[in-house]
Structures are given as structure tokens and as C-alpha cells.
């Protein structure tokens, strides 16, 4: 998807980001605590069958249509009601075949993906899952009538632009080979495309059922009462039998997150749909009885400062370099209760392209002042920094302001409402500095680079708040996407990051993590860094030993 007009990225990331931001500030766990591998989670190691899992959310899902799903509530429902070709396993960032029979066969030029479907799968209405259904589900995303917020992930598919103009025709790049084989042709090699096939919006629905999607997932929608509840039942004919373990999932809606926590402690719900509220964090962390029911994992996310390279004085590389020496990262982490780990480069750990080399600068006030003087600002200057007006930004912003004051830069700190922030930061010459973050859509460096630092993203309405454009960096990212092995890709991304950070359009601060609490009777619980809940693999310890 190298030629894809950027601004990709899913909105769900922003939602998820908001969730994450909510959790931040509240969790004092560190990376050392994070679980890796597939640990058994709480409540026994032997799966048990039956019973009901009860969860709660603050808000209703906005849709049940995967192609437009972007809020966290609908997102978890996508994973329960539909299958995708690939899905993330356990608490890892690795994908495995789900509706596909195996990993995709990629042609030598990296352009053609041939995917066999798992044999014998059926939709919940009994019809078989065929290649035509998969093509239908993917075509919809690129049809402007669907208004999919994630269509940009698919613009690297051959013929995507033509199809968007004339949705009545055929999408050249996605086709049925035979009943159980799908072929996808890209316009440029993209080793991260397999991850796009595992995203929530790539869920497979039965052809022609867009208005009321029929899926093949582990659960079937029983009913949705707006403002009250969603109930899904186990799909008894699910291909991965005996999973799912629980018979039913009840999702209570409109439950305040504070109350969710109380209900969880009381055993009235099993999982919280929203993050632990910042004010309740101490309750959770000090409660010994909750310790065994708490999990913290590293989220593939980076919190960072941007400097608008098109605006004075940040068009001067020396000024940007000076700023890169301004921040005390360990102290910033304390302000968010230690939730996360200090950044050593731009990409977070676990992502293809991450290097453990230290590519950022520690705080060095003298050096920063010297650089500012060299740049012609011996007495500093005044500027403005924007961020969201929620936690953890409001906790971090004053400290960044103080750190910058130490080197002579007087910052007007402006925490503002989210949608106003996006408007402002994405408009050229409006926001000299921002404090922002990014959570990976999938574990590949291109997800960060293409969306946040590519020339294609340095446009009004894009996410490249630095308006940074370096063709060499773009080329390296494209090269990494075409690399034949992960090792090669890692090396090329490391070069790209070193090159980019030498220009200092951004200053990485720290990597985030998330903490979740689960009920006493939840078995097999694990967090998922990329997705939401893995309801297929959780069970209730109150269930029976056999079905």
C-alpha cells in the first residue's frame, strides 16, 4: 500500500486511544509485569463450559456493520459475531488463520495474495461461507456508499480508486478464484497487508446482508435493546468447537465506568467495557483481593510531541534539535502513575521495525540552550502546544511546559476538545507544537510512518502534525514493506527511524500500557494488545466440566 494516499488509520484507533488515555494515569504497572505467551489467566486452567458472561459498557455501539465499526463497543461485538480471514492469537501480536485455511500464498513479486478458505464453515443461517462472501465484504469497504472510515487501508488494492468511482463495476484487485479461494492483488508489495485482513472491519459477512449482517462468528446476536443491553448466544455450529465456552454473553449498556468497577468487585459483571477510571485506580491497585484479577500489558503505542516543520521557528532544524534535549522522560512517566515505559525510539516495542537502540536524547538543558543560541534564539521564544483536554494530557502538558521553560521556550499550553484538536493540528500553519499519541492498528512500523510522518500524510486533514516530508524516509518505509524477511524489514525501519529522528519532527516520550480487571469467575482471561476481548477463549469457572 505504498502508493496509498495516506491518512489511513482507523478511527477506532482514536477511540481506543481515548480508552487508553483513560487508563493511563491510572496504572502503576510496568513493562516487566506484562504477560507474554499464552498464560492461562485467572480462575483455573481447565476450560469449563456453559454459563453466561456479563459485561458492561458506558455507551451503545453505533453500528453492527463491520465495514463502519469504529467504537470499542462495536469492535468487541465484531469479534464475537464475525470471523475474519486472520485473527490475533492470545495476548500476542501474531496472527493465525481463522476463516482462512492457512496464511496467504504471496507471489514472488509480493503483489498477489491467494487465500484458501477453511473448509466446512457456515454462516449462522446455515449457508456455506464462500469466496464470493469474502469478496462482497471487502468490496463494500471501498464502496463510498458504505462510508467506511477505514477504506484508506484498502486503497493499495489494484483498481480501488476506479471501484470507488464506479462501485457498480468489478473491483479488479479482489476476486473469486473458486468457491473456496480468494485472490487479492496489490499495486505495490506490502508485507503488512496480512494484518489489514485481521482488522475488525475485515470481518466476513454473508453476501447481500449488509443491512442486517449475518456472520459466521462464535456468537449470534439475540437482541439489542438500545440503552439497555445486547445479548448474544453461542453459535452451536461454530467451526472451532467446543469453543466458544460460554453459552451466552450479556452486554449491559449505559453503565458508568465507576459503577462498572463496583459491579465487577461484587461479581455482578465479569468484564469492564471501559477503562478503569483514573480516580478508581488506587482502589484497584491497593486491593489485594483484586491482584489476581488484574492484568497489565504493553500497548503498542507511542506518546510524543510534534513540531510543525513548516512554521517558524520550528522550520529551523537546530530549534527542533534543542527541543529534543528538553524533556525528562522518567519524570513524565511518574505523572501517569508509571503506566508505560520510557521511549528509546519512535516505534514501540513489539512492532516490526522496533529497535532497542537508543535513538532519542536524554534531557540536557545546557546543550539545548546552546543549540537554541546557535539557531539565533539565545533568549528562547514563545509558542503554543495543543493536546486533548482529558487525562493523561492534562497531567503531562504542564510538565512539558516547565521542561521547555528551562531551555527558554515559553509555551502557551492549550488542552482542547478532541474534534477541535484534530481540526487544528491537521490544518497547515495552525499548531506549532502538539502533544499526541498513536496506537498501532497492526504491529508494523509502516502503520506509524505512513499515517504520521509520510509526505502523503503531510496534507490538510492528515495526521502528520509536523507536516514533515522526507522522501528518503518514505522510500525506506516502502523498501521495508517490500522486504522479504522480518529481519530485513527491522533493519530498514531502524534506518528510517534514525534518519527521521535526526530531523527531529517529533520527540518520542514514552510507550503506553493498559491495565484490565476481570471478574473472579472468569477463566482463561488474557488481554489483547491489538484487539479487544477474546470471548471465544474465555470461560466461566462456574461452568460445567463438559458440554
Amino acid at each position: 500500500m505504498t502508493q496509498s494516499p495516506l491518512r489511513r488509520v482507523s478511527a477506532r484507533r482514536a477511540v481506543l486511544g481515548a480508552l487508553l488515555a483513560g487508563t493511563l494515569g491510572v496504572t502503576a504497572a510496568c513493562a516487566g509485569n506484562s504477560s507474554t505467551g499464552s498464560s492461562a489467566g485467572g480462575g483455573g486452567t481447565e476450560p469449563r463450559y456453559g454459563d453466561t458472561m456479563t459485561v458492561a459498557y458506558k455507551s451503545d455501539p453505533k453500528t453492527f456493520d463491520p465495514a463502519v465499526c469504529y467504537d470499542a463497543t462495536c469492535w468487541n461485538n465484531m469479534r464475537m459475531m464475525y470471523d475474519r480471514l486472520y485473527d490475533y492469537t492470545g495476548d500476542t501480536m501474531n496472527i493465525a488463520a481463522q476463516a482462512a485455511a492457512d496464511m496467504p500464498q504471496v507471489s514472488a513479486d509480493g503483489l498477489t495474495y491467494t487465500i484458501k478458505l477453511r473448509a466446512g464453515m457456515t454462516f449462522t443461517d446455515g449457508k456455506p461461507v464462500t469466496a464470493a462472501d469474502v469478496v462482497y465484504s471487502f468490496d463494500r469497504i471501498l464502496d463510498p456508499a458504505t462510508k467506511s472510515p477505514v477504506a484508506s487501508f484498502w486503497t493499495g488494492v489494484k483498481g480501488a480508486a476506479d471501484y470507488a468511482k464506479n462501485p457498480g463495476g468489478d473491483l479488479a484487485g479482489i476476486s473469486v478464484v473458486d468457491d473456496s479461494t480468494v485472490q487479492i492483488v496489490l499495486t505495490a508489495p506490502n508485507s503488512s497487508f496480512k494484518y489489514v485482513l485481521a482488522m475488525p472491519h475485515a470481518s466476513i459477512i454473508e453476501k447481500g446482508t449488509a443491512a442486517k449482517p449475518v456472520g459466521s462468528g462464535p456468537f449470534v446476536l439475540d437482541h439489542f435493546t438500545p440503552g439497555s443491553e445486547i445479548v448474544v448466544n453461542r453459535n452451536e455450529k461454530y467451526w472451532d468447537s467446543p469453543r466458544p465456552y460460554v453459552n451466552k454473553v450479556v452486554e449491559k449498556l449505559g453503565v458508568d465506568p465507576h459503577v462498572q468497577l463496583l459491579e465487577l468487585q461484587k461479581g455482578q459483571i465479569d468484564l469492564m467495557g471501559d477503562p478503569i477510571p483514573a480516580a478508581d485506580y488506587l482502589t484497584v491497585s491497593n486491593d489485594a483481593s483484586l491482584k489476581a484479577q488484574t492484568k497489565t500489558i504493553v500497548k503498542p503505542s507511542t506518546y510524543y510531541v510534534t513540531m510543525n516543520t513548516q512554521m517558524k521557528p520550528f522550520d529551523n532544524p537546530k530549534v527542533r534539535e534543542a527541543v529534543s534535549y528538553a524533556f525528562d522522560r522518567s519524570f513524565l512517566l511518574k505523572l501517569v502513575a508509571g503506566q508505560g515505559q520510557v521511549a528509546n525510539e519512535y516505534l514501540p516495542p513489539g512492532i516490526t521495525g522496533y529497535t532497542s537502540d537508543k535513538l532519542v536524547h536524554d534531557q540536557d538543558i545546557a546543550k539545548a540552550k546552546q543549540l537554541l543560541a546557535d539557531a539565533g534564539y539565545p533568549n528562547g521564544f514563545e509558542t503554543t502546544m495543543y493536546s486533548w483536554n482529558t487525562s493523561p494530557w492534562t497531567a503531562l502538558l504542564p510538565q512539558l511546559q516547565q521542561d521547555l521553560a528551562k531551555i527558554g521556550i515559553k509555551v502557551d499550553a492549550q488542552p482542547i476538545q478532541q474534534s477541535a484538536f484534530f481540526d487544528l493540528a491537521a490544518t497547515p500553519n495552525k499548531a506549532p507544537m502538539t502533544l499526541t499519541f498513536w496506537v498501532a492498528d497492526y504491529p508494523d512500523g509502516s502503520d506509524f510512518y505512513q499515517a504520521l510522518l509520510s509526505c502523503a500524510a503531510a496534507v490538510p486533514g492528515g495526521q502528520n502534525y509536523s507536516f514533515y516530508c522526507n522522501k528518503d524516509v518514505d522510500d525506506l518505509v516502502n523498501k521495508a514493506l517490500a522486504a522479504s524477511t522480518v529481519e530485513d524489514a527491522n533493519k530498514i525501519y531502524a534506518q528510517a527511524t534514525a534518519k527521521m529522528l535526526a530531523d527531529n519532527p517529533v520527540v518520542p516520550l514514552y510507550y503506553g500500557s493498559k491495565t484490565e480487571v476481570f471478574g473472579k469467575t472468569v477463566g482463561g482471561y488474557h488481554s489483547q494488545p491489538i484487539w479487544g476481548w477474546d470471548m471465544t477463549n474465555y470461560w466461566k469457572t462456574t461452568g460445567s466440566a463438559s458440554r
Partner: protein, 308 residues
């Protein structure tokens, strides 16, 4: 009476019209783009533009306003931006019974808690009961309802299992007692103060002295003679409160997770759901205006002077 109505009903309509216009304009003036929020902040410009077009946001404000008014004449409040394919009126009508039950119970709590306290305080002004009442009502007025709500939830629902923590299903009353009590508690303070002031005034009037001189028992003096005089301002306030609560109590409904109009409004504001916000504001204003009218009518019935 009909002349009174003839004058007041057009007035009410003008007020509603003004409120709706203001709500419509405000939602369009605030920063942030509904289409961008729907598409997600990072959607491509083309996606945002197509949503703009779909919602008619690319037309002039005057056109949008005209279309909105035209719909209103047909009792069509439009379709929610955020909740896919849900007409605003459907969503509000679905939420209305919850808010109505909460409103009626809340007003009852206000009266039941506030009025007796006010009477007791007025009976011996400056004494312990009075001071305690003043202090309590100060606390009642100052305590933010979301905090009181969470506190009550923690104590009565979490610690003592007396009430459910959240939800709304039959028997509904179980889910309404705590929120309506929280709602009534804040308001009760106003009622206590209003009752006290008016009772004090009444207690000083000559007819009370006369009644006492006649040797009437204090109970009769207080409840039959004084309280009657206090009732009309209290009724006004109860009527107004009921109208106000019917429009949805945003904070309390959110804390207790009641699927009422307030929760609907709260969510709509979060997603810049313009039709939903405008619709909710219109409903809220409608109830206030109607209750106002009813209160005035009640006055007019009792007091001929008002009818002129």
C-alpha cells in the same frame, strides 16, 4: 379564561421556536465537525466529504435550518447522526418513559423531604432544628449530584446490597429509588428554604395571631392556616421542576445508567449528534414551557387577578 389561553399559547410557541433556533445555531457554531466525528478523526477527506453530503452539511445553514423547520412541522426531528438509521423522535420517545418516571419520583422526594423540614425550621427560627436545617440544605445545595449519586451507590448498593448498581428492567421501581432520591435530595434543600421563608412570613401575619389568640392548637395553625398560604409558591416550583426533569436529568441518568432522555442528550453531545441534541433540547424546552403554562393556568383558576 379563553382570552388568557389565547395570549399564552402563541407566547409559548414563540418561546419554543426561539429555543429551537438557538439550539440549532449553537450546534452548528461549536468547533468540531460532526462528519469527521462520524467518520472517525482520521478518515480520508473523501469519506468526510461524502458524509457531509449525505447529512446535508454541505448545504447553506439557511437551507439546513429551513429543512429542519419543515421537518418539524411534520413532527419529523430528523435522523440521528451517531446512531445509525435511528429517527430522533423514536430515540427520544423510547427514553421518555424512563425520564418521566424519574421526574415524577424526583419531584415527590423533593416535596416529601423538603416541605416538612421547612415547616419544622420555621416553627422555631434560630433554634437548633432551624440551624441544622439551614446547614443541611446548604450541603444539599452544594453537593454535586454525581458525587452524591456515586456515594449512595457505593453505600446502599455496593456495601449493603439494598439496591441494584445499574440497569433498568422490571420491577423498574428498584432501579428508580436511588436516582430519584439523589435528584430529590438536591432539590429538597430549595423546598426547605422556600417553605421556611414563606412559613415565617405567614406565622407573622395577623390571622395567625388571631388563630392563636382563639386558642387553636399549634398543629392546626401551622398546617391548616400557614401551610395553605405556602402551597401556591411550592406548587409553582414543583410544576417547574417536573417540567425541567422531564427534559432529562443528564448527570443523574448517566451515573445510574438510566436509558432516559438525559443520557441520550449526554451521549449526543459527546458525538456532536446535531439532530439528537436539537431534538432533545426541543423536548426539554417543550416540557418547561408546557409546565409553565399549566402552572399559570392553575394560578389563573385560583386567582382571578391573573386572568386579566
Amino acid at each position: 379564561m379563553s382570552r388568557f389561553l389565547l395570549r399564552r399559547v402563541p407566547q409559548a410557541i414563540i418561546v419554543l421556536f426561539g429555543v429551537v433556533t438557538l439550539a440549532f445555531l449553537l450546534t452548528h457554531v461549536v468547533p468540531g465537525d460532526p462528519a469527521r466525528l462520524i467518520a472517525g478523526p482520521n478518515a480520508s477527506a473523501a469519506t468526510v466529504a461524502s458524509i457531509h453530503h449525505e447529512l446535508g452539511l454541505d448545504r447553506s445553514l439557511a437551507y439546513q435550518y429551513g429543512k429542519f423547520l419543515l421537518g418539524l412541522l411534520h413532527f419529523d426531528l430528523g435522523t440521528s447522526f451517531a446512531l445509525q438509521n435511528t429517527p430522533v423522535s423514536t430515540a427520544i420517545l423510547r427514553a421518555l418513559p424512563v425520564s418521566a418516571a424519574l421526574a415524577v419520583l424526583g419531584v415527590l422526594w423533593e416535596a416529601v423531604l423538603g416541605i416538612p423540614v421547612g415547616i419544622i425550621a420555621a416553627y422555631r427560627p434560630g433554634k437548633l432544628a432551624d440551624r441544622a436545617t439551614t446547614l443541611a440544605s446548604l450541603v444539599g445545595l452544594s453537593a454535586p449530584p454525581f458525587w452524591v449519586g456515586l456515594l449512595l451507590l457505593y453505600l446502599l448498593a455496593f456495601k449493603f446490597n439494598l439496591f441494584p448498581l445499574s440497569g433498568y428492567e422490571a420491577p423498574f421501581i428498584n432501579y428508580l429509588i436511588l436516582p430519584s432520591f439523589t435528584l430529590g435530595l438536591g432539590g429538597a434543600a430549595w423546598y426547605a428554604r422556600l417553605t421556611r421563608t414563606n412559613m415565617l412570613e405567614a406565622l407573622r401575619s395577623p390571622y395567625v395571631q388571631m388563630a392563636r389568640a382563639k386558642g387553636m392548637p399549634e398543629r392546626v395553625v401551622l398546617l391548616r392556616h400557614c401551610l395553605r398560604n405556602v402551597l401556591s409558591p411550592l406548587l409553582t416550583m414543583l410544576g417547574m421542576d417536573l417540567g425541567y426533569f422531564l427534559g432529562g436529568v443528564v448527570v443523574i441518568e448517566s451515573v445510574f445508567g438510566l436509558p432516559g432522555v438525559g443520557k441520550l442528550t449526554f451521549d449526543a453531545i459527546g458525538t456532536l449528534d446535531v439532530p439528537m441534541i436539537t431534538g432533545a433540547v426541543l423536548f426539554a424546552a417543550f416540557f418547561i414551557v408546557v409546565m409553565n403554562l399549566l402552572v399559570d393556568l392553575a394560578y389563573a383558576l385560583v386567582d382571578p387577578r391573573v386572568r386579566r
